[in-house]
């Protein structure tokens, strides 16, 4: 018997991800077990059949994303989840989903790498892989939740963005958030804003779009429109083409669609204590709690410090951070890697604001104390 889910539950981030996905309409999951994301597969295996959905444990990471894409093409909202090594293996098909414009949510619960690395330890080393991991130039949406509740909410948003913009969305979690346990409100579907792909295909052409539009509409396989999907550059009908003019148009439309809609729901960021701040701490995902603690303590110590957290990591809230930087003497980027978001921040922050960095990749978490020490030492 399908159990009625309690509205408030003590959950791991990984479990909240599954509940958010199901609330958003996920009815197919395919993946391969990998630490520290495995609980996503396990809970999907329990929960999906309870709601008439399907879970498949595939033979490898690649078939996990491939089967999910197949299900999406046939009209089911689909997800796959993995961690570092598996994220590397899925990259080719993330690119396929990008050019073929197939909605899918790909979860990467980051762990320390490269290679097998520190499988059970926190890291945020896949930030640039989320952006550039698949070959060829391409746009990307990557979202970084920072708590269990945030994971629930952001998973719903990941599905919505994926469906609205016919694009893969990377839900970039990390070991800290994935295994964090706290109370979570399972907001039911009826109370959520849910988006489904637009199924009114223009002239039965899967890649045709109207004046001023960037996202073609899409019917599902089996719904009566016979069309072709390919990973090659293609024309409006989805048929492969070597026509350079069409290739250029398609390539730039793919890039543009994420830029154009950046302010129509894609971008999200959060600020705390930034109104009068002179020091801004940039963080995301699993480092957020430590930064929140540090900001609180440093404020008590008299430092004018605040937090700037990109929720949507890619595309990055560049304009917003640049605007904020006008009042800041210092920006401290805090992340569990050797400086990946740091590269972006250094690239956009010009002028007098000093960009500093706290990174950690030894398998332990950054503490509020370490952040306060940094705040103090430069003063």
């Amino acid at each position: 018997m399908a159990e009625q889910q309690k509205r408030f539950q003590l959950l791991q981030g990984n479990e909240a991800c599954v509940e958010g996905a199901i609330a958003a309409g996920m009815r197919f999951y395919a993946g391969y077990p990998i630490t520290p994301s495995t609980e996503i597969a396990e809970r999907s295996a329990v929960r999906l059949p309870q709601v008439g959905g399907k879970f498949m444990q595939m033979e490898d990471e690649i078939s996990g994303i491939a089967a999910a894409l197949g299900a999406s093409v046939a009209g089911m909202k689909a997800m796959t989840a993995t961690s570092g090594p598996g994220f590397s293996l899925k990259q080719e098909n993330i690119g396929y989903a990008t050019i073929a414009e197939i909605p899918i949510v790909v979860v990467d619960v980051m762990r320390a790498g490269p290679s097998t690395g520190l499988p059970t330890s926190p890291s945020q080393g896949d930030v640039m892989q989320a952006k550039w991991g698949t070959h060829g130039d391409h746009p990307v949406i990557a979202i970084c939740p920072c708590s269990v509740q945030d994971t629930y909410n952001q998973t719903v948003r990941a599905f919505n963005l994926s469906e609205r913009f016919r694009t893969p969305v990377i839900l970039l979690m990390d070991e800290i958030v994935g295994h964090m346990r706290e109370g979570c409100e399972l907001i039911p579907t009826e109370e959520l804003e849910i988006h489904d792909r637009n199924q009114h295909m223009i002239n039965s052409m899967p890649y045709a779009f109207g004046e001023g539009q960037y996202v073609p509409h899409m019917t599902s396989f089996g719904d009566g429109n016979l069309y072709n999907i390919t990973g090659l550059f293609h024309d409006e009908a989805g048929f492969p083409t070597n026509d350079n003019k069409i290739a250029a148009q398609e390539g730039s439309r793919l890039m543009e669609k994420i830029k154009v809609y950046k302010y129509s729901g894609i971008l999200e960021y959060e600020e705390e204590e930034m109104d009068d701040a002179e020091i801004g701490i940039v963080c995301y995902g699993g480092t957020t709690r430590a930064v929140q603690g540090a900001v609180e303590q440093a404020r008590e110590m008299g430092y004018k410090v605040g937090m700037f957290r990109p929720v949507t990591l890619w595309p990055f809230p560049e304009y917003e951070l640049v605007e904020r930087a006008k009042q800041l003497k210092r920006i401290i980027v805090v992340e569990h890697n050797y400086g990946q978001v740091l590269l972006t921040v250094q690239g956009i922050i010009k002028g007098d604001t000093k960009v500093e960095f706290i990174g950690k990749v030894d398998g332990t978490t950054i503490t509020p104390r370490e952040i306060i020490k940094k705040i103090e030492e430069e003063e």
Binding site: A68, A71, G75, F221, F239
Partner: protein
């Protein structure tokens, strides 16, 4: 003027195809379409899923729901379609490299699950699209651009490999014996489980040239003379069968089908209420 079959089942505006003159793949593509027509399947209920390589360009020419995927992954994509829409007839068109090298894992695991897919392998014994490298079905000793001194790898028997992994229908046909090939594809589609039909193709451009097999006509004549139906082969001596290709239904059995079994899981979990 295209034939009625081509008119009914192919995207004629997209023809002629990109295959070399004399390639066997056009015949095999037509055989797949003819089999679907013979079974009277509504085109809306048929998905053709392909991978990468010469074989896999077939999907784009065929007027069904067609998905041209990444190299080796067609069976995995097809698995997702079948799970989402179990009533859909999902046919995978793949090649020897696509299905048994880069995609070999998916082939054996889909066979193990016995999910109701029909896989037609256009086997030309070579990587054609990249210019003639040896594949897992290039016979030992024969040549490709990456086996300039002869191939020392063993070669796969695709139906036997699939049968051992759990496929419930395996068969082999060729380009010359068209009626037989069509019938084998029909039987594969009708089998409620994982079916693998190898279609022995010809590649005069690379495999033929590299191995001095003559042109397309000679290669087709070779198939006519050397592809022996399994029933006829049963009456022949091992000496007579030396160097022959045995065709027909290679194996057939019954096992629970995956999507039907998954429906039982949904029932157990209460998701069908």
């Amino acid at each position: 003027m295209p034939s009625q079959l081509v008119e009914n089942t192919m995207r004629t505006k997209r023809l002629p195809h990109i295959w070399c003159p004399g390639c066997g793949h056009g015949i095999l593509m037509r055989d797949v379409c003819q089999a679907i027509e013979n079974l009277g399947l509504p085109r809306e209920e048929v998905s053709i899923v392909s991978g990468i390589g010469c074989s896999s360009r077939a999907a784009g020419y065929m007027n069904y729901n067609t998905l041209h995927t990444t190299h080796g992954r067609a069976i995995a994509f097809a698995t997702g379609i079948k799970m989402a829409k179990p009533n859909m007839h999902v046919i995978v068109i793949t090649g020897d490299g696509d299905a048994t090298a880069i995609g070999g894992n998916h082939l054996i695991h889909a066979a193990r699950r016995n999910i109701d897919l029909t896989v037609v392998v256009f086997n030309n014994s070579i990587y054609g699209m990249t210019g003639g490298q040896y594949s897992p079905t290039t016979p030992t000793g024969e040549r490709g651009t990456t086996a300039p001194y002869g191939n020392i790898d063993g070669d796969f028997d695709i139906p036997r490999l699939s049968e051992a992994a759990g496929a419930t229908f395996t068969a082999r046909g060729d380009c010359w014996h068209v009626q037989q090939m069509i019938k084998l594809i029909e039987d594969g589609i009708k089998n409620p489980g994982f079916s693998v039909i190898e279609g022995v193709s010809i590649c005069p451009t690379y495999y033929g040239r590299k191995n001095k097999k003559g042109g397309a006509v000679q290669m087709m004549q070779w198939q006519q003379d050397n592809c022996v139906d399994i029933k006829k082969a049963a009456k022949m001596t091992p000496e007579e069968l030396e160097g022959k290709i045995i065709t027909g239904v290679m194996s057939q059995c019954k096992r629970p089908e995956y999507t039907a079994e998954y429906d039982k899981i949904i029932h157990k979990a209460g998701g069908d209420k």
